[in-house]
């Protein structure tokens, strides 16, 4: 290669490198802050969910075979959960006729604190599987609390929501599953 050719190649390479880097960073600017909440679990069979509940009985998700199940993860130390639990209880009442069940995982929590919060909210009957070490929450792929999953009649996870659920979201997710 002559000096001239080398120089042209060098020009091309450096301009391409700078331009590529610039495009990359510019795209990054555009999408900064966007965090997807899609879960790898959606479309897969629901992970096992069994254990002692806050009420002292044993519960297993298998016993709800054939139902559409809302699985919610909460803890008494989580502020938004306090808002969400009444919403979930109401949803269970409204959708009970359509065969929707509600199961919650009480994660990394003391049973006394959890029970007293449920008493305060008037939801002592809430079916809550105890998960003191948080392993159940991890098995469901949770990143924080609250999180809610929708499991269809075949036991497949259909949706996940990070943060407090809304009535509209529940309607959107549950309606098509219940209809079948």
């Amino acid at each position: 290669m002559t000096a001239g050719q080398t120089r042209h190649v060098a020009v091309a390479v450096s301009v391409l490198a700078v331009a590529g880097l610039a495009v990359l960073l510019a795209t990054g600017l555009g999408s900064a802050g966007s965090q997807s909440s899609s879960s790898a679990l959606v479309g897969d069979p629901a992970p096992p969910l069994a254990g002692r509940t806050l009420q002292g009985t044993h519960f297993s998700l298998d016993s709800l075979d054939g139902a559409v199940v809302l699985v919610n993860i909460w803890a008494s130390w989580c502020g938004p959960c306090r808002e969400e639990i009444p919403l979930l209880v109401a949803a269970k009442r409204n959708w009970a006729d359509s065969g929707v069940e509600l199961v919650t995982i009480n994660t990394r929590d003391g049973p006394a604190a959890a029970r007293s919060m449920l008493r305060e909210l008037g939801a002592t009957e809430l079916r809550s599987v105890r998960d003191p070490q948080g392993e159940l929450a991890v098995a469901w792929g949770a990143a924080g609390v609250p999180e809610t999953y929708v499991v269809d009649r075949d036991g497949i996870v259909r949706a996940r929501r990070v943060g407090v659920v809304t009535e509209q979201w529940l309607r959107e997710q549950l309606s098509p599953l219940v209809a079948r």
Partner: protein, 689 residues
């Protein structure tokens, strides 16, 4: 009033830097050897005063508002608080995006003022061109602060108080030192950059060019090294996990210019001794500053997820434009003008100092590229392959450890080989003792139960480096003693004074070896345990035990603190009481850990409080023994000290006579690490005897 003064100061700085660009460019165009003494240059020097005045005025205005709790200023309303102690109120300036840009301006204008009034000796037309480039950079940053940030916006009506800075930024004294040091380092890279551009324009990359570049690179490198090590120590002291380097994108951003500047300092040696590689040295000078700017972009744009990023800052696109324009502009200049920088010269034969330094450059630059790649890879994966990937410590460790080990090997061999090349036989003779010492260290350690290939290699190579350095020092002193036929003490004195520049370089190398030992030991042999303790129970690991004696809660307006009181017993029978705490800052809803670290030369005992039960009867405590962590800080201190020693202007007192006797072409000698090329040859001869 404060707001008005601040805005005025910014506007002053902005227009002064714009004007100075033109004046310096004129001075440069009138050129000649005394470009710096022409009328436009004299006027431009006043410009430098005005730029400095603008930056100082803006910073002073914000500081005044912070200290007097003037919440009518938006920056104070968002970052000030009446309950923050004075020290952290002052440091609040750089706790948020707007204010930290003001600190950036202050440092930059400081460099401009120093360079305007104390130009590198005999820099000729290089100086005004470099000043024009620096003023351009200053104009950009003044404009950025003036037009895009809201540093001096006012709030009507003024709120009665503010939340104060982020708790992590008002909890440790390093807040006052670490960010300014980093800024001095980052922005210091602008000076070599400016001289690189000036070199490209004038075609002058002679010895005087190199001296200017080396002096300021070394200065910035010193600050950056101290800043990075201090930052690591800060993370270690507050994050509660015993980690000091997390390969976080923003940490990487501070490492990148450091790596490139290190390469630059070494390639400068090649250029000094062989007059080779001017274009490469120049490219490194450019790259160091571009990477510093890229780091600022990453920190302030939200492009990468990081603990250290400033939230919600609007300057991303503008900074990106600046970095891209600089990169394209200078890349074009380098490519088009590189062959005008002097004839190509050889760096030396295969077994020569030049080759070792070249290899060092290749490895440092490859390491920098790897870190950059890892930092930007998640972004690229999402853009090009639509995949969400993470790149974290396991990747960086896997890539950096082998490169670092080879670099360590080069550090052992490099200073021993001669510039003019060596026979393998001679090298073997010279390296026999250090290699034997290193091998003994490795063997003894392995026999005494130390496991792991990488750490053992690191210990071995570090001892080879240390032995080489020790052997060189001893043999030089011995030679001095023989030559002068004087006593040991006097010989050591002569050696320390006469060879200060080479010694300071060796001290930096020794510091690296010491730090490597600390890093290898602490990352491989740290043990920790975590336990929930009831009062009276104890947790123990490798002979150290901690017994919970109680939990204490205290509360002030600013912070609620929960401390676990523990009695710590060490294997040597020493008993001490420690109280690691969790500090909750209600204004931010944030909890910050305050671990207790007990250090000695063998390592640290590190106690963290993780959680406390509501009734205070139980506490979850993490107890860790981190071996040799102190060595990292000691090594870092040696590196910074060595570099500072090299910078010390030793010839100022008798400078003028020296300058004339040696001729002006040698330029300013400040910061040249090894002013006597002959000394290496002398040394070689001395050792051979």
């Amino acid at each position: 009033m404060t707001a008005w003064l601040g805005t005025f100061a910014l506007a002053l700085g902005f227009s002064a830097s714009l004007g100075s660009i033109g004046l310096w460019a004129r001075a440069a165009a009138q050129g000649g050897a005394d470009g710096s003494h022409s009328p436009p240059a004299r006027a431009a020097r006043y410009g430098a005063w005005l730029i400095a005045l603008g930056a100082v005025g803006a910073v002073a205005a914000v500081e005044w508002a912070l200290v007097t709790h003037d919440f009518s200023l938006r920056f104070v309303a968002e970052n000030g608080s009446t309950s923050t102690p004075l020290y952290y109120t002052i440091t609040s300036l750089w706790a948020a995006h707007d204010g930290s840009l003001l600190l950036w301006l202050l440092v930059l204008s400081g460099y401009i003022a120093v360079l305007a009034f104390r130009p590198p000796r005999a820099a000729g037309a290089l100086h005004p061109w470099a000043m024009a480039v620096l003023c351009l950079v200053a104009a950009f940053f003044f404009g950025l602060v003036l037009f895009t940030t809201q540093a001096f916006e006012t709030v009507v009506p003024a709120p009665a108080g503010g939340p104060g800075p982020n708790p992590l930024l008002q909890d440790h004294p390093a807040m006052g030192i670490h960010p300014p040091l980093l800024y001095i380092g980052f922005i210091g890279m602008a000076v070599p950059f400016a001289f690189a551009v000036a070199g490209l324009i004038t075609g002058d990359v002679s010895r005087r060019w190199l001296d200017a570049v080396r002096t300021y690179t070394l200065f910035a490198w010193t600050a950056l090294t101290a800043g990075v090590v201090l930052g690591a120590w800060w993370s270690y002291a507050v994050l509660g996990w015993g980690g000091y380097w997390a390969w976080d994108p923003v940490e990487n951003a501070s490492l990148l210019p450091w790596l490139v500047a290190t390469a630059l300092l070494h390639s400068g040696l090649v250029q000094r001794h062989r007059e080779a590689l001017p274009a490469w040295t120049l490219s490194l000078a450019v790259a160091a500053f571009l990477l510093a700017c890229l780091g600022t972009f990453l920190t302030r744009s939200g492009v990468v997820v990081s603990v250290h990023a400033f939230a919600d800052s609007p300057v991303g696109p503008i900074l990106l434009g600046f970095v891209v324009a600089l990169a394209i502009g200078v890349a074009a200049l380098v490519v088009l003008r590189a062959d005008r920088l002097g004839p190509p010269r050889p760096t030396g034969s295969m077994l020569s100092r030049g080759s070792a330094l070249l290899l060092n450059n290749v490895l440092l630059v490859c390491l920098a590229l790897t870190v950059l790649l890892g930092t930007l890879f998640p972004l690229a994966a999402e853009l090009l392959a639509d995949r969400q990937l993470s790149v974290g410590p396991p990747y960086y460790n896997r890539m950096a450890v082998p490169i670092a080990l080879v670099l360590l090997l080069l550090m052992a061999v490099g200073p021993v080989v001669r510039w003019q090349g060596d026979e393998p036989a001679r090298l073997i003779r010279r390296l026999a003792v250090p290699v034997a010492v290193g091998a003994c260290v490795v063997t003894l350690l392995a026999l005494s139960g130390t496991r792991g290939t990488a750490p053992l290699l690191a210990f071995g190579l570090a001892s080879v480096v240390a032995t080489t350095i020790g052997a060189e020092c001893v043999s030089t002193v011995r030679r001095t003693r023989a030559a002068r036929s004087c006593g040991w003490a006097r010989a050591v004195g002569i050696w320390a004074v006469r060879r200060r520049h080479r010694n300071s370089g060796l001290l930096v190398h020794l510091g690296v070896a010491v730090a490597v030992v600390g890093i290898a030991a602490s990352s491989a042999y740290t043990v920790s345990t975590e336990q929930r303790l009831t009062v009276g129970e104890q947790v123990s690991i490798s002979g150290v035990s901690a017994e919970l004696s109680g939990v204490e809660r205290t509360r002030t307006e600013r912070v609620m603190s929960t401390a676990a009181q523990l009695v710590l017993r060490r294997p040597d029978g020493e008993v001490s009481e420690v109280d690691p705490a969790l500090r909750f800052f209600p204004a931010h809803g944030m909890t910050v850990a305050s671990p207790v670290v007990l250090s000695d030369i063998t390592g640290d005992v590190y106690v963290t409080l993780l959680a406390v039960d509501q009734d205070g009867s139980q506490a979850t405590v993490r107890l860790a023994v981190n071996p040799l962590v102190g060595w990292i800080w000691a090594g870092g201190a040696m590196m910074a000290l060595g570099a500072a020693l090299a910078l010390w202007p030793r010839r100022r007192s008798r400078g003028s006579s020296q300058g004339t006797s040696r001729g002006t072409s040698r330029g300013d000698r400040v910061g040249s690490v090894d002013p006597e090329p002959a000394s290496d040859v002398e040394l070689d001869e001395a050792v051979r005897q």
